[in-house]
Amino acid sequence: MIKTTSFEIAYHQFLQPNGEPSGGLPPLARDTDTLHALYHNMVFTRLYDERAVNMQRTGQIGTFASSLGQEAIGAGVGHAMQPDDIIAPSFRESGALFFRGFRVRDLLLYWGGDERGMSNPDVGDDFPICVPISTHCTHAAGAAFAVKYRNEPRVVVCLIGDGGTSKGDFYEAINLAGVWNLPLVVVINNNQWAISVPRSMQTKTETLAQKAIAAGIPGIQIDGNDPIAVRHHVAEAIENARHGNGPTLIEAISYRLCHHTTADDATRYRSDKELEAHRQYDPVPRLRTYMTQQGIWSEEQETQLQTDCKTAIEQEVQHYLASEPQPPESMFDSLYATLPGELESQRRSLMGKE
């Protein structure tokens, strides 16, 4: 018998569900600006989600995926990244995208069926939202190769769901990242569900983090509803990667407190009891309690933040609602660098000029 690898998967948490520290805290837990930024992002994202779900109900946008209950992941990842880093997002991480420079109006355009939602030039070279699950993992690996090839001190962060880890693309990407020692961090939002399929029906492994072992790269589990843990460990993995120490897989344990999307009815497959049992792990009150106990958050600040976020979101919503659709012929205009002549005639016929 040859003993190859035996392993343990570390699980990290700094804040317990009730907001009390679980043990020693990292320096960022004393950094008021960072905590405020994380909290702001989570509250903003939650209010945006709520507004967007309502907009879907009234036909102002199409199908929408909320991140209710999972805001700490987007916030922690987005805040841990440097502006020059590159994100390859799934479709559920609005909070991270806000940190990256996407505006509410951009995301509403996207969910409102308008390509311009992913066109904001201020966003740099981040990847657009990825709908075909897991396909972006390999893009992230390719991007990580590109920055490494050019000796740029940049890191690529890929976000994926628990269901997405069942696809080959995911393993293919982390496997390559290991072999090529790529500056890649893959963060799994394990919200326990892939539409109606529970985590236990995706894989028999006890953790998703241990999938890293088969790729020969480090894999850790963190409390994905603890914004301090997400921010700290994602930043650590990013800085590791930046310094040439290769990729990391991070499984962030969370829970989807919402339907899969507005097109889904989770009551068909998930018990109220299970849902209710997970409300106590909500990341938003957790950080708020901690900050209150630290004396860096007050009722007045909370009221002010809520008002500020709502006002900002409302302004963005109005921007979106006032947007004119693109002209029909726009479907031709970003198709190729130069539109082939043959398509030029299709374009003219669409415009009724032929």
Binding site: G62, T63, F91, Y110, W111, G112, G113, D114, E115, I129, V131, P132, I133, S134, G163, G164, S166, K167, G168, A194, I195, S196, V197, M201, Q202, T203, A263, D264, R268, Y269, P325, Q326, P328, S330, M331, F332, L335, E342, L343, Q346, R347, L350
Partner: protein, 326 residues
């Protein structure tokens, strides 16, 4: 016999298949307790149990490949791909194996599987949820491609696909899922797989379409009738193999043909029909064959999708131009 929608007809055919064929199993993402995101597989888990109704992990290449393996060993898997936009990982299995297994083993093994997927635009769905790429599969030797356009044809054609000894890609135009109701008899009667359906006899022009575009095509035919133009309307239904005999017979009488499809026009199913008409029916044509298609662009996201999909007006315009040839 009750009036039901296309999605209910699909469900009914699946129930009928499962009840009468112990070798049949159903697999896919969210097809169990959730009954499929469009509810095509509702109540199957409860009735036939988790040994035959299999919720899979999220992996389309696996779903198709596992179905190939099951089919090779005598099961009759009917696998669901949640949306056609996510079928591409399965393409490898369908091209490299499903379509070739019989041939590679000179008939020793075969692949009696069905791969179902909702396809097409018009329901304001997110990115990647609206394309019509049936031609990708129609191009592959060894596969059959079937597209129903109504509840009755969904029921009969799905049963035929389930009973067919070879792999079938069964594409369901999701815009039609709840668009209309028809009386469907749950009598287990399959429809033929290699035959077009003439929905409206006519003598002036032949309109060929399939899937959701049958709706606009029939509206156009009604409009034409009110203008004194008698259009014959054909629902292609089996995309591969194509029943050219019916189409050639029709065009032999009308001398004019317009093909209507949601898909991009280049290298499409419409291109194939036009080519076959040129090869085998040129002498009966009074006018050039016309295709009314989606454009050769990425399908726009839904705010502009209506400009992409052929409208009744675009069909009428093409018909008028075709009729202008004396």
């Amino acid at each position: 016999m009750s009036d039901i929608t296309m999605i209910e007809a699909v469900n009914l055919a699946l129930h009928h298949g499962m009840e009468h064929d112990p070798a049949m199993v159903i697999l896919g993402e969210d097809i169990g307790i959730n009954g499929g995101v469009f509810r095509a597989t509702v109540d199957l888990l409860g009735r036939f149990g988790p040994e035959r109704v299999l919720d899979t992990p999220l992996a389309e290449n696996m779903i198709a490949g596992v179905a190939v393996g099951m089919a090779a060993q005598g099961l009759h898997p009917v696998a669901e791909i949640q949306f056609m936009g996510f079928i591409y990982p399965a393409l490898d299995q369908m091209v490299s194996h499903a379509g070739r297994l019989r041939n590679r083993t000179r008939g020793r093994l075969s692949c009696p599987m069905v791969l179902r997927a909702p396809y097409g635009g018009g329901i304001h769905a997110p990115e990647h949820h609206s394309e019509s790429t049936e031609a990708l599969f129609a191009h592959i030797p060894g596969l059959r491609v079937v597209i129903p356009s109504s509840p009755t044809r969904a029921y009969g054609l799905l049963l035929a696909s389930i009973r067919n000894p070879d792999p079938v890609i069964f594409l369901e135009p999701k815009r039609v899922y709840r668009l209309m109701k028809q009386g469907v008899k749950d009598n287990g009667e399959a429809l033929p797989l290699d035959t077009c359906f003439v929905l409206r006899p006519g003598s002036d022009i032949t309109l060929v379409s399939w899937g959701a575009m049958m709706h606009e095509t029939q509206l156009a035919a009604e409009q034409l009738a009110s203008e004194g133009v008698d259009a014959e309307v054909i629902d292609l239904a089996t995309i591969k193999p194509i029943d050219m005999e019916t189409i050639l017979e029709s065009v032999g009488r009308t001398g004019r043909c317009v093909i209507i499809q949601e898909a991009a026009s280049t290298c499409s199913v419409g291109s194939e029909i036009a080519a076959r008409l040129a090869e085998e029916g040129l002498m009966s044509l009074f006018a050039p064959i016309r295709r009314v298609s989606g454009y050769d662009t990425v399908m726009p996201m839904f705010r502009n999708e209506k400009h992409y999909m052929p409208s009744t007006e675009r069909i009428l315009q093409a018909v008028k131009e075709t009729l202008e040839y004396a």
